[in-house]
């Protein structure tokens, strides 16, 4: 069992260390990802990629919800689409626009795969982390 709540053991020690230092030397700054940002980590951790962070706000400026959630078939659930690169390269899901014409193509890996390793698929609700930190990561499929 090398994974525990979605993070590896060295990462856990690093996190505990950072928490300790933060509390010793200053006021605790909690991560405040933008409201509605989605972490997509179906397979990324397993293949050594950073998880994807999808910025809802950036896309809703440009597209009606209906374009992705009806026309492209995105489920309204973080991690609910079983996205993988094969589907995207075939033009499904993200690949419908991320084709090098409407938006950057799949050669710009790190623009999407830019999240910190080990985060489970989730939607950022901008809540007090103390209330949500105890929620266990969903089981790996």
């Amino acid at each position: 069992m090398s994974q525990f709540f979605g993070i590896t053991i060295p990462q856990k020690f690093a996190l505990a260390g950072m928490l300790f230092l933060a509390m010793m030397f200053g006021r605790v700054e909690f991560a405040a990802a933008e409201f509605g940002d989605i972490v997509i980590n179906n397979y990324s951790d397993g293949v050594g990629m950073r998880p994807v962070i999808f910025p809802h706000w950036f896309h809703r400026v440009r597209f009606a919800c209906k374009v992705c959630h009806t026309d492209l078939g995105f489920a309204m659930k973080a991690g609910g689409n079983q996205l993988d690169m094969a589907k995207i390269l075939e033009g499904q899901f993200c690949g419908a626009c991320h084709d090098g014409t409407t938006a950057w193509a799949t050669d710009r890996c790190a623009l999407c795969h830019s999240g910190q390793a080990g985060m489970p698929s989730q939607v950022n609700k901008n809540k007090d982390p103390k209330l949500t930190a105890a929620a266990p990561a969903p089981a790996k499929k």
Partner: protein
């Protein structure tokens, strides 16, 4: 996981818990003044650039190419929570013009102007659900019939469900404005509050 690492991580968590519980150790804003304002609120920053938001990896090669939300939001109407943007107003004022159909740039949404009144217990103002704002950006099938049965009285909605991410809570609280903004849904003020728990209603039947 080896037993030693389980023990070590247990002590790490224990140490963190003790530190969290002891106000003298951690320099929280209220530590020096026991009667400080917002004693239980965490210092929260919002609309941070991706490289600083704690979720993006600052070491990711291109993370600084990503737009900062604050830059995108500078000309949009403000609100109190969520993205701190009033998206409904932004669409109504055409500050944002979201594409309705990828294949047809000229396609426009066909909003349905139909309000649904949900009567609410006690003196809490009734909910007036406006279809118009929702159909400007969503398709009927986004909500019907999976989330809401398209029939009057068939949807029993509670705040508990919404907080658990069901019903309205599928979007409100995760992408659309969160439940802190009570009065954006609970709009229909009752005229007289009765002692029996159900108030006289100002809404039309």
């Amino acid at each position: 996981m080896k037993p030693t690492s389980i023990t070590l991580s247990f002590f790490a968590v224990l140490a963190a818990a003790i530190l969290l519980a002891s106000p003298g150790w951690c320099a929280q804003p209220g530590a020096s003044n026991p009667n400080a304002f917002n004693r239980l609120l965490k210092p929260t920053k919002y609309n941070l650039p991706p490289a600083e938001d704690g979720y993006h990896d600052p070491a990711a090669e291109d993370v600084r190419e990503l737009q900062a939300p604050a830059q995108a939001f500078q000309n949009l109407p403000k609100s109190a929570s969520g993205n701190k943007v009033d998206w409904v107003k932004a669409v109504d004022e055409k500050k944002v013009t979201p594409v309705w159909d990828r294949g047809d740039p000229a396609a426009q949404a066909m909003p349905m102007d139909l309000d649904i009144v949900f009567e609410v217990k006690g003196s809490t103002p009734d909910v007036v659900y406006p279809h118009r704002q929702h159909t400007l950006i969503l398709d009927c099938t986004s909500c019907h019939p999976d989330i809401f049965v398209p029939q009057k009285g068939a949807n029993q909605i509670s705040m508990a469900q919404i907080m658990a991410g069901q019903k309205c809570g599928v979007c409100h609280g995760s992408v659309a404005f969160p439940i802190e903004e009570c009065r954006r849904c609970h709009t229909n003020k009752k005229t007289v509050a009765s002692k029996k728990g159900s108030a006289a209603r100002s809404s039309k039947p």
